[in-house]
Point group: C2
Chain length 567, copies 2
Amino acid sequence: MGKRKYTIGLDFGTESGRAVLVDVSNGKELATAIYRYSHGVIDEALPVQGKPVRLQPDWGLQDPEDYIRTLKRTVPAVLQQTGVEPADVVGVGIDFTACTMLPTLSEGTPLCTLPEHRRNPHAWVKLWKHHAAQPEADKINATARRLGEPWLDRYGGKISSEWFFSKTLQILEEAPEIYAAAERLIEAADWIVWQLTGVETRNSCTAGYKAMWSKREGFPRQSYFAALDPRLERVIDEKMSRRIAPIGARAGMLTEQAAKWTGLRPGTAVAIANVDAHVSVPAATVTEPGRMVAIMGTSICHMVLGQQERLVPGICGYVEDGIIPGYFGFEAGQSGVGDIFAWLVDNAVPPEYHAAARKRRVDLHKLLELEAAKLKPGESGLLALDWWNGNRSVLVDVDLAGLLIGATLATKAPEIYRALIEATAFGTRVIVEAFEQNGVPVNEIVTCGGLPEKNELLMQIYADVTGRELKVTASVQTPALGSAMFAAVAAGQAAGGYDTIFEAAHQMARLKRSSFRPNPALQPVYDRLFAEYLTLHDYFGRGANDVMKRLKHIKAEVRHPQPHAAG
Amino acid sequence: MGKRKYTIGLDFGTESGRAVLVDVSNGKELATAIYRYSHGVIDEALPVQGKPVRLQPDWGLQDPEDYIRTLKRTVPAVLQQTGVEPADVVGVGIDFTACTMLPTLSEGTPLCTLPEHRRNPHAWVKLWKHHAAQPEADKINATARRLGEPWLDRYGGKISSEWFFSKTLQILEEAPEIYAAAERLIEAADWIVWQLTGVETRNSCTAGYKAMWSKREGFPRQSYFAALDPRLERVIDEKMSRRIAPIGARAGMLTEQAAKWTGLRPGTAVAIANVDAHVSVPAATVTEPGRMVAIMGTSICHMVLGQQERLVPGICGYVEDGIIPGYFGFEAGQSGVGDIFAWLVDNAVPPEYHAAARKRRVDLHKLLELEAAKLKPGESGLLALDWWNGNRSVLVDVDLAGLLIGATLATKAPEIYRALIEATAFGTRVIVEAFEQNGVPVNEIVTCGGLPEKNELLMQIYADVTGRELKVTASVQTPALGSAMFAAVAAGQAAGGYDTIFEAAHQMARLKRSSFRPNPALQPVYDRLFAEYLTLHDYFGRGANDVMKRLKHIKAEVRHPQPHAAG
């Protein structure tokens, strides 16, 4: 029996990065350290000296040096907390938000660290939730439709403003000097692996889900990029790479420099980068078709594996080898879930409930959950469309908005709270049914993220509404655990890890023993409410009445009136 | 120049009654006294000794002795406050809520004052908002449709559960012994005039608006009543009267008894009873077609005069001589207005606004009004259907419910507050347009009630949305002033009053000098929002999607599950 071996999963989030040190033999998380980014999300002004550089609305940037600081602060901390010998850490894996991308020089130096570019916002990291590239996304979609680009269907017919080429095109159009100076354009996920290994690699997950790449067809053809903008024609070969590494591969070995930052040994195996959502799938024990993983927090990301290529209208995308090697990884999403409940709690709950929560020493979410749990399905007479933050799947429309119907003079906050939970559950059911109707079975749902830990009522409602059992991952750091699993695969069995992610998942990933099973007695009333939801969903979401878009249009006009065109 | 003469208007409301002493020469209100009914609205248990008599949900009763106590407390008070000589009070007029009705003996004794009936809820006064007679209203409507009763069209095709025969039929069905003992069934308005004069009269306003009577056709035929219930066949002749007195006539003279109660002189003229809403019309200076009176409070009552009989689909009713002699009085209504804003304030405004209101020493309505006034129309992106309390006109459907559309994660309480105000303004516009499209012109709107005094933003929005000038009555006691005007007409010119309500209105009714004029610059955006409102109004209100009714049906099923029928 050999000595115990360990891996470290590094999870780079929106506000902070964390390291989790994991026992390779059983997946136990022995220590966690968190570094809160010193500049967090940069959405008002650049963190630069001198005259302030203010950002436009919808911008969201980060400082790449925060990622390096994460390495320096968190990895030594978990080693110290556990007393684990660096020699026994056999691998490092990382996952990141995506698409979070930056321009660099050819050897990896971020342009924003160079004095000549430091005051240009386009030189910084564009975070996933940088939402200022919508015009560019519109152009990408219109051009693709016009040219009949075949890859558009893989993304449900629409590329998001959050994705790689929307952001790239925005740099080109608004800051051509930055575009010209950028010798590389790269996902932050791959950039941090580059910093760890000294080797530039590109992972198949972000390439596939965010940059229109596929294993069989590669990137879109040059003539498409040329049609977008002649300067973009050779963007792949000039500033990116056609060598895409599959998830589960090894990117390289820790450099002397990175060893100094982290306290690990030079030569430690480093896994190909991954995305926080996708790396959670094997950490949720899912390495086969038929089981959906739902990462439930402010929004929900749904992932499911399939053996065949399937076009599922309105899903975010599917990528071969994008989640688990050998499978097509399908991804869908709900753009507002926990966010909507938080909206209610912050904006529409009267003082008496705040006071009651204080008195009972629970937070207001918990109080509303307890009160809402006393209601039977259908008892409030309320129904909502969960589009407070638009609809990501299956309508793919950011201009949809929230709707509440059935209010009376007797309507109370816990009833609205429950109606919003039910609406998000109906949203999940729409996605599950879209998958199933298009040949991607979903027999059960494995959940992770913040909501399953916090809200039992929500979990039971989701089980009842979808008619499926909901399981919950045992880890509360699911993405970091997933990265630690991929780190074990990067190390390989010979070094004390595993040769495949399947073995790693079998040994390291666990679910809680308790689960949420659908209550058949409630199915009929939920089916009736879901039928009403679906009618409204299609009426407002599929063109019969575009009132939500027109209201947003009026709102935009009123807020930013256009002067009359001259002449 | 003769000595100044005075009249007293008595206004019997839902929670209290009031007397206003008015100078006949100029309408000045010299004193007001209010009596808060000792039993208020009786909706939980009868105010009787011994074992409690609990009421069913939706019941609403009153104690007729509270009306007598109003006479005794308020009239002497206004005399005392002003020092006016009883001999100079030339008339008394009264207005009442309606339909508020009670069973009595032949000489007027209310059955609920008799020991043998005192513990029977059906012996008491059924207040206008007694809502437990919906099954009876349904039967009245179904029977009328089946027999093709011509009068049904005068009421927009539907009789309300609040009206006279719904309440009468409920007595008959649920307490046949009370129905049998009731020698008279009478509006409380007429009953209080009976108490003042010793003469039983029946006014054309309640007969027309609440009891299916018309000047030309009388009451529905006996065979209709017999079809409802054989015992009801001769209800008019047995328990009511076919002699209906026109508004503006004199009912009689004050009895010795009533003179003792009030401190007025026996023989003082007493006007035929009237309804609080309708009596406000001349008090708002309106005695001619083309000017709508809107009484704006928890709900809105709209009244407009016409020269010809017109069928306006979905209005509450029209009555010849029902408001002003010689005209058809058309009535419509919105069942939730101030109530909806109060719902928001009580149920969906977070603590920070409560705190800000306290800090600024304004009530929360005012704070929200001030914040909402900073928004431009359309700026919130929100739109609502103002059906929190159903829809009275033009859809006439209590099962419709509230809708809010366009919510985002950035939506704030003042935006919702404004959207609700706008929704009620759109509701008014629907009614105004229904009148105009059916030949009843509405050129301007004269308002009274609580809202015009309290909410300037609301008034301006109503002007902008309807495209009509909104004027405001000078009196804050509009119904009582109207009653005092009818009192002056009952007295007649010879006694120091007036011979017609037209002269009385000319001399005694006044409007404020300031008014709310529509802002033409805002018309286009409100027109666009109204078009969206109308689409949703028709979609949810006219059968394309009856989701609101189905949700209420599910709610009722879930709350009161029916046991499976045996065999």
